[in-house]
């Protein structure tokens, strides 16, 4: 065995050169790129972690916002409900008041219409009664249309004031209304009865008015003595109407 020292030395130098070159141009670049990738990965991880934290924070904020919105919505719904209840109550009160007012007005109208119809019915009834009475009067004897009312005429004149009674028949005949023309006896009876009441002779001027139905009436410049069946029926009718109204 023989060692070639030149070869040993050259191989040693070769190995050292190769180690240096590989370390400089192979191992270092590869290690650097691995380290750079590792650093980039760490950076990306940090960024991802930061992004995740931000996302978590955003999600938390969003959840809080949802809760807040729900609370606001509940409050708004409650307020709207209360406002609607208040408005509904006000509308109901207004409607109820309006209904009450309309009901009262209708009731008043009904009462007024009932009263009006009642008055009309009573008026018709009164007129019907007068008509009935007038028709019945036509069945009585013609003497009854005058003779039964002479005493009443004298009593009515007697109740007149003294001044009025004194002025009766002075200057002109007494205007006497009768339902039919009077015969002489009836004229004399009536003039006698008036002379008794007035204390002096009385001259009469007879005017026929069938509307009296029966009776005798005096017409003076300042007074009227009504003593007829028509006047009585009118008073009765007026009395009935007043009684019904009251």
């Amino acid at each position: 065995m023989r060692i070639d020292w030149w070869t040993l030395g050259l191989q040693t130098i070769n190995v050292l050169i190769l180690v240096w070159i590989l370390g400089r141009f192979f191992f270092r670049p590869v290690a650097d790129i691995v380290a750079a990738r590792r650093a980039e990965a760490a950076k990306l991880l940090d960024e991802a972690r930061a992004a995740r934290d931000a996302a978590v924070a955003a999600r938390t904020e969003a959840e809080a916002e949802v809760v807040r919105r729900a609370s606001d919505r509940d409050r708004a719904v409650a307020a709207a409900t209360a406002e609607a209840d208040t408005a509904k109550a006000a509308l109901l009160a207004t409607a109820r008041a309006e209904a009450d007012r309309l009901r009262a007005a209708a009731r008043d109208d009904i009462h007024r219409l009932v009263a009006l119809e009642t008055a009309r019915a009573e008026a018709r009834a009164g007129r019907l009664a007068v008509d009935i009475a007038a028709r019945l009067m036509t069945r009585l004897p013609k003497e009854a249309q005058v003779a039964g009312f002479v005493a009443g005429l004298a009593e009515a004149v007697a109740t007149l004031p003294e001044a009025t009674r004194a002025a009766l028949g002075t200057g002109a005949p007494l205007a006497l209304k009768a339902p039919r023309p009077l015969d002489d006896d009836e004229r004399a009876t009536i003039a006698g009865a008036l002379a008794d009441v007035l204390g002096r002779p009385a001259e009469i001027a007879v005017t026929v008015d069938p509307a009296l139905l029966a009776g005798l009436e005096l017409e003076m410049p300042h007074a009227v003595v009504r003593n007829s069946l028509a006047a009585d029926l009118e008073r009765i009718e007026a009395e009935l109407a007043r009684h019904d109204v009251s």
């Binding site: 030149w6 190995v15 590989l22």
Partner: protein, 235 residues
């Protein structure tokens, strides 16, 4: 393979310097490795290609081996350990090229490699511990061990030479003998076995170099370069 494996005959001379086949083969291997390194590292990107992934895996494996053995940052040791591994592997596998005898089948090449490792153990030991601290390691665990430790420095380096030389040279020798006795294709299984043997010897040489350097620099607190990578694994 007709000559003695223990003798290196010069191919030519550069002045007084004889240039043997091992040296020229080493230059060719160096040229190929340097060219390959330049090509492989020409376009390194953060998003690696398939080729770049393989390269990074190789460098990562070297780093892991150094880190596991030394328990220290592999950066200062990566060029030496990785370079020795790549060169020994390329040299061992150069026997596949017809007519080429691997440089590691010659004693001078293995001795040069062992010499570099020996010098590196001293360099890293002195740099880490200081000259006095490094010398004190020879008195561990007791001063009685000083002679044995001194002898160990020589013998273990010599064992590196003999191991690599014996394995590679024997493989080449056996293939040569079989090729001279049998047909053309008969040595192919033995050549395949040489591939495995060459890879194993490259790995063993690199690991032993790491172990020797680790023994020189002593125990250090290992950094945790995988801290970022390991973090997601934490449940």
């Amino acid at each position: 393979m007709t000559g003695s494996p223990l003798v290196s005959e010069p191919l030519f001379h550069l002045g007084p310097v004889p240039i043997t086949a091992a040296v020229t083969t080493t230059w060719a291997i160096m040229a190929a490795l340097i060219l390959g390194a330049i090509l492989l590292t020409r376009r390194l990107t953060l998003l690696p290609s398939r080729t770049q992934s393989v390269v990074e895996m190789l460098v990562g494996a070297v780093d892991d081996q150094i880190r596991d053995t030394l328990g220290a940052d592999p950066t200062p040791y990566r060029p030496l350990i990785g370079g020795i591994f790549v060169f020994v592997l390329a040299a061992n596998w150069s026997s596949l090229v017809p007519g080429v005898e691997p440089p590691t089948a010659k004693l001078e090449t293995d001795a040069a490699l062992a010499l570099v490792v020996f010098a590196a153990t001293i360099f890293y030991g002195v740099r880490t511990r200081g000259l006095l601290g490094w010398m004190k390691t020879f008195a561990e665990p007791s001063w009685v061990m000083i002679p044995l430790n001194l002898v160990e420095q020589i013998t273990r380096t010599f064992s590196l030479v003999v191991r690599l030389f014996g394995n590679v040279m024997s493989g080449v020798f056996v293939v040569g003998i079989v090729l001279s006795l049998a047909g053309l294709l008969v040595p192919i299984p033995l050549m395949a076995l040489d591939l495995l043997t060459g890879a194993v010897q490259a790995y063993i040489f690199a690991v032993l170099a790491t172990v020797f350097i680790g023994a020189a620099v002593g125990e250090t607190e290992p950094p945790d370069p995988h801290a970022i990578a390991k973090e997601p694994e934490t449940p």
